[in-house]
Structures are given as C-alpha cells and as structure tokens.
C-alpha cells in the first residue's frame, strides 16, 4: 500500500484523518505541532501520542519529508537547493542569507505555463503543480530552516495558478497550530491572475508582489502573454479598490530592459498608474536567459530611473542580485535539464 503523507495537511484535514482512525480530536493539533513546529521526520517521534495511535497512523501515513538532492553555493553565500517532486520531477529553492534577514525563495510548480519572454522557468513548459507538502518541504527540510526569517513565493511557477495548494501552505505556515510565521514575513508574487489575486487579498494577510515589467499594456503583451487575458488596468483597478492596512505591503516587480521599459516615458506612465495606490516598485536587474532578444539596463540607467520615480513620489527600491553565478537569481531557476522526455508532445 502506498502511504499518504502528513506533511501539507491542514488542521481540518488532520481532524478528518484522526476521526477516521478513531483518535481524539486533540490528536490533530498534536500531530500538526510535531510536523510543523518540532520538525520531526518520523511518526514514532510523536511522543505525546499513545503507542497505539502512532501505530495506527504509521500504517497509513508517513511524514513525507524529502531530503534535497543537490545544493550549489554561490560566492555571495546564496545556496540553490534541488528537491525531488512527484513523478520524478525536480524543483529548485534559493536560500539567500543577508546581514539582517535570511530569505528563502520557494517554488509552487514544476515549470510554468505563463511563458514570459524573459524567464528561464517558462522555457521548460509546465510539468506539474506542487502539493502543499512539496511546497512546505522546501522550508521544513532545508538545513538552514531555523535561520529563515522571510519567505518569498518567487521560485519556479506561478503561485496563483496553483491556488488551492498555495492557500493551504500559507495557512499551515501562519496558523497557531502550524509554523506560526508572521504573514508579514511572507510575500507571494504573481503575474496578475485577477480572480486568484482577489481571493488571496481577501483570505490571506501575506504581502503581495505583482510582476509589472512595463506600464504599457500593448508592450506587456509582448513580454507576458497573460496580459491578453488579465490586463494591467484591471489589476490596478482591483488593487485600488482595497484599503490595505499599513502593515500589508503591495509591491510591483519591474525588471529593467534596455530601451524597452527604462525611459522617461515609462517613468511618467508608472507615476500615473501608481497614483492613489500605496505601493512600492522594486527594480530588478535583468539576468539574460539563452535566446532572449532582451538586454538589461545598465546600473546608471537603473539608478536614474529609481531617482526619477522617487522624485515623483513613488516609493522605489532596487533589488540586489544574488546567486547569479549559480543561476539562482531572479528568473533563472530551471530544472529543464532534468526533465524526462517521456511525454509525447502535442505539436
């Protein structure tokens, strides 16, 4: 019998399991705390459960933690971990230590369906959604898990295209019975899938980052096919319809492409778009991917662009590039080389 895994189960799901096994309700909370707070790897370690309860659970379940398969270490201290997912797929997670915080960038899908022109993950197509357990395993089985202060859902895949599993993992990460992380230390990045954005804003307190990359819809279509379905003006209309609490951060990711989105015209349109919205623009250096027709803006242009936005009252920062030498930087995560070409293409 193939055993199901406990990692990734919410408290409600654990209550169903303990109910079916004839165990007291409080056992669900105990199990959750063992897995998500005490980081155990085996059911036998749940020492406040009866021996019979542990046996009953072990007959049907494992914890489900999976060790990383490989790690690459950058000269700047960034580490890129390779984890195995179901069906022989692989995903990557990037651990980024800094002076005042340590950030883990995690994946939500194997590959991605969104096909952005500038992204390496998109070049491998889409293979699978990660389960809540596979999402959480990137943190809970990370050697540096106790040092992680911030989580960003900016790894492989579009989080809002795997919405149910994303929301379950966020629930587990922030719940009192779960990892008990502050939602203010978690940021979820999206390309802008509007119905899921709306649900996320309503149901979660985590920070939101939206991939913007140009303020012009026609030009965004060339960079990001999603613009055909969920256009920028609707994203801004949605965001401006909320009164976000001061503690909740809304930011826009903006990769700087030479001659494409780094001109005065772009500054002016960004200012117009951002009017009435308390949000930050995060400028990102472009790390070219093979075959791309795009080039990155130089540092002087990026700084001038930032200064021009700030002068117009738009909160703007420049993101430090980390892990470039091990392809762990923004937009470079990919496990394409590890794909098994067993599936016949439809074209």
């Amino acid at each position: 019998m193939i055993k199901d895994t406990l990692l990734g189960k919410t408290k409600d799901e654990l209550l169903v399991i303990t109910g079916k096994l004839g165990l007291p309700k409080f056992t669900a909370t105990q199990i959750a705390e063992w897995i998500y707070k005490k980081d155990i790897s085996d059911i036998s370690e749940m020492s406040n459960l009866s021996k019979k309860a542990r046996e009953l659970i072990s007959e049907r379940f494992t914890i489900g933690k999976i060790d990383h398969k490989d790690v690459q270490v950058s000269a700047d201290g960034t580490k890129k971990y390779l984890f195995e997912a179901a069906k022989g797929n692989y995903i990557e997670a990037a651990y980024i230590p800094e002076e005042k915080r340590n950030t883990l960038c995690i994946s939500t899908q194997v590959g991605c369906k969104m096909g952005c022109l500038f992204c390496m993950t998109g070049k491998q197509g889409f293979q699978a959604n990660l389960s809540p357990g596979e999402i959480l395993n990137q943190l809970l089985n990370l050697p540096e898990r106790e040092e992680v202060s911030n989580l960003v859902f900016m790894g492989m895949g579009e989080p809002f295209d795997n919405m149910d599993n994303l929301m379950k993992s966020l629930e587990i990460l922030t719940a009192p019975w779960g990892r008990e992380m502050s939602p203010k230390r978690i940021t979820v990045s999206t390309i802008g899938i509007i119905p899921s954005m709306s649900r996320f804003i309503d149901e979660s307190d985590c920070h939101l980052a939206v991939s913007l990359h140009t303020p012009f819809e026609d030009e965004r279509k060339n960079l990001m096919p999603i613009e055909n379905v969920y256009p920028l003006h609707e994203i801004f209309t949605l965001l401006k319809s909320y009164d976000f609490p001061r503690q909740r951060r809304i930011s826009f990711e903006y990769i700087m492409f030479k001659g494409v989105n780094d001109t005065r015209r772009d500054v002016n349109e960004l200012v117009r778009l951002m009017h009435g919205l308390k949000a930050r623009i995060n400028l990102i250096r472009f790390h070219p991917v093979p075959g791309t027709p795009l080039e990155g803006s130089d540092d002087k242009t990026i700084i001038e662009f930032k200064d021009a936005l700030i002068a117009k009252g738009v909160n703007t920062t420049i993101r430090a590039s980390r892990g470039l030498d091990i392809a762990a930087a923004c937009g470079l995560l990919s496990t394409k080389e590890l794909l098994k070409n067993s599936e016949e293409k439809d074209y």
Partner: protein, 225 residues
Amino acid sequence: MPNAQFNFDLDLYPVKVESNAEIAKDVYVLSYQRSHTFSAGQVVGISIIEYGEPRLYSIASGSTDDMIRLLYNIKPDGELSPSLAGLKAGDTLYVSAPFGSFYGTAKPAVFIASGTGIAPFMSMLRSGLNKDKSIIHGGRTLESFYFKDELMKELGPENYIRCCSQESGDNVYEGRLTNYLREHNDLDHDRKYYLCGLAEMVVETRDLLIDKGIPYENIIAEIYF
C-alpha cells in the same frame, strides 16, 4: 472589501447547451446561444456549477454567428473537461461574457497552433479576418487537424500547413511543427505571428521565430493555462 468600481466581470450566467459533439477522440465542440458581442480571439469562463471557479476557453465561432462554439479536449485529470464532455443538449452550463485581447488582425499574419489552440484562429477566420493568412497546425495524429475541410477550403493547401508528429498523410508534413519552422528560412519578418497552445509549444516556437530574425514585437502569444 472591493468596491463597485472593480469591473473585471467573471460573473457566470446560465445558458442551455445547444450541442456537444465529439469531433475526434476525446475532443468536443460545445455550442450555446450567443447573447453578447465579442471580438474574434476572446475567451469565456465556463463552469458546470453556478458558483464554480470558471475555466477559460477560447471561442471558436465567428463574431456574428448565432452560436458560441468552444473546442475542448478531455484532460483525464482535469477539473472541468471530463464533466463537460458529459453534457447533453438542453443541459445548463454557466458562462461568463467574452473577454480578453488576443485580437485578430486584418493585416497579413501567420497563425501557429497546437491541438485545440486552433480555436481562436477559427474564430478569426470565421469573422472575416481571412485575407493574407496562413495556418501552421501541429498535432500528434491525423485526427488532430480539427476543421481541416473548412480550413483547406478557406486557405488552400499552400496556406494551411499540417504537421503531424506520429502519422503520415497526404499533404501533411511528417514531424513536429517546430521542425517544420526550423527547415524554413523564408519566414516573412514583417508579418505578425500569432501563437496559441500549451506553454511548451508557445515558448519553443517563439524562441525559434526570434532565432530566425522575427522581431519579438511581431509575435503575439496566447497560452492555455
């Protein structure tokens, strides 16, 4: 809470299924009465339950046709398509108004599709956007070339290229559509190239076109997700 100004409308309303016919193995055309104007290339959200999370499908019918027609295939692990295939004439389906901006063009263009990605291009051709157009359609089997009689009649063999990866047939290129494109160095750099299908095809084809000198601004992609 969002206020009333938020106007992205994925509200679903009920329609009666007019027909739901299997046109190839596990591939269906579903139709219902049109009650909105739309532009060729747009999508609708559909669900079989009233407050279900809609899935998006490209419209395959012409913008002045009486019926909205949707082309879809059954995905064995899909949340909607297996149930959708069970619908019969007279059953209720919940649909959104058409939306999206993968619009067609009256200018010369090459449409490139895999599988059911042919749908928005059918809509464009059926809406009168058929002058100076060619289609390159990729599929695994000869059965994958949905609407082939209509397309052959509309475009002629020189502008309707079928690429079949697993079977061979008359006037059909034997191999993947990306192989076909690799072998052709006469691509017009001034034309628009419209791509529609699954991410892997779109991304690989886009890279290939860029490698052949097509400006990325001339490549317009719609990805099924």
